[in-house]
């Protein structure tokens, strides 16, 4: 056995020597319960997320339907159909963009890093989709709002409210988009660095 091996064995002994009290305590019952609750919550989280998306969309459709009944027939119908199309496009992209990324976390580090990178890529895909979707929404909402407002006598505040709301929501969405893109790119660079570390030739 050479000096390097001896030195390594000493390091292994140092590494594995721990005061028993500090490391061997099993999880308490309270901790176990907490973990169990967390696991159950995590298990339901994805289902809840999907259900909440669907419920939110359904609620929006009901609201738009009721609103459209108060409009002249043509404007109401176009408004409702346009909203349905926008919701279908958003949901379809959302479900499609999540495909194949819900794998169990038991793979090797290499596959775990690759999955994490794939998730970051999907986030970027969603971020690329966002401005286009916003543009699509505005391309529909602006002409439709003008049409709805000029088709009946409207006070100035209605114009202000409609366009103020659209401008405010667009600004909020763009601000979130910029922040989230920076965050995602930063995280992705870190995962890529690790990926390169794993793939560099031995």
């Amino acid at each position: 056995m050479n000096a390097m091996d001896h030195e390594w064995r000493d390091l292994m002994a140092d590494w594995q020597s721990e005061p028993e009290e500090a490391v061997s305590s099993p999880l308490s019952e309270e901790t176990r319960k907490r973990i169990r609750r967390k696991v159950q919550r995590h298990g339901h989280w994805m289902v809840l997320l999907t259900l909440s998306e669907l419920t939110g969309c359904a609620a929006m459709l009901v609201w738009i339907w009721k609103e459209s009944l108060e409009q002249p027939r043509a404007i109401g119908t176009v408004g409702f159909v346009g909203t349905v199309i926008l919701i279908v496009v958003a949901l379809a992209f959302s479900f499609w963009n999540r495909r194949g990324t819900w794998k169990p976390a038991t793979e090797s580090t290499r596959t775990f890093v690759e999955l994490s990178l794939e998730r970051q890529r999907r986030k970027l895909a969603a971020l690329r989709f966002c401005p286009w979707f916003l543009a699509l929404e505005l391309a529909f909402l602006i002409p439709w709002s003008i049409w709805a407002l000029v088709s009946q006598p409207s006070e100035p505040w209605r114009w202000l409210f409609a366009f103020g709301w659209m401008a405010g929501m667009s600004a909020l969405m763009l601000a979130w988009w910029a922040w989230y893109k920076r965050k995602t790119l930063r995280e992705m660079a870190e995962w890529e660095e690790l990926w390169r570390g794993l793939h560099e030739s031995g």
Binding site: P19, T31, P104, W191, G197, L198, G202
Partner: protein
């Protein structure tokens, strides 16, 4: 966990799911009993702050619990537990980066174990050596850190390869490099 959600049903083989659930609980307990200290050391290479390290360890336990029903024995339980711990550690590393002051954490940890000492001087010396080694390992690049930590736990090249998804030869080469780097850090502190 999945077992608890189906506690009253019976699977096609006729085995009561309650038994499956109990078996999983026992297996989980045993893995923690046998490998808990090593999993805590894995947490220590990703997080120097004792409180956050404990949180990370709890996360590792949670991930282990979640993944256990899917474990089909394609590797040893130890390899399986290390895979989960290192993957959790990597995720934790990105989230908690740059938030700790090493000196403060070392002091807190010293206080944490102070009550357990029987021979304060020798145990303090041992503790210092251990903490110096941990700190040196923490300063390695991520992949080298994983290879070194797994080797220090006594895993073979094949087992390390199974955890990281690398070939044995690749592990051997990386380990040689990482050991040199570790020695350099231990000797020079850089």
């Amino acid at each position: 966990m999945s077992g608890s959600s189906s506690a009253v049903s019976t699977n096609p083989e006729g085995v009561d799911s309650l038994d499956v659930s109990r078996a999983l609980e026992e297996r989980y307990d045993r893995i923690l009993r046998e490998h808990g200290p090593a999993l805590r050391r894995v947490a220590a290479i990703y997080e120097a702050d004792p409180a956050r390290r404990e949180d990370l360890f709890q996360d590792v336990c949670l991930a282990l619990w979640q993944a256990l029903p899917r474990f089909r024995g394609d590797c040893s339980e130890r390899t399986f537990a290390f895979r989960i711990a290192h993957n959790r550690g990597l995720s934790h590393g990105w989230k908690a980066r740059g938030t700790m002051i090493p000196g403060t954490a070392a002091l807190e940890e010293a206080e944490e174990i102070a009550d357990h000492r029987h021979d304060p001087e020798s145990e303090l010396y041992e503790r210092d050596r251990r903490e110096r080694l941990r700190e040196a390992v923490r300063r390695l690049p991520p992949v080298a850190r994983q290879v070194v930590a797994l080797s220090l736990e006594g895993l073979s090249h094949r087992e390390i390869g199974e955890v990281l998804g690398l070939t044995e030869n690749n592990v051997a080469v990386r380990l040689t490099r990482a050991r040199k780097l570790l020695r350099q850090i231990l000797e020079t502190g850089k």
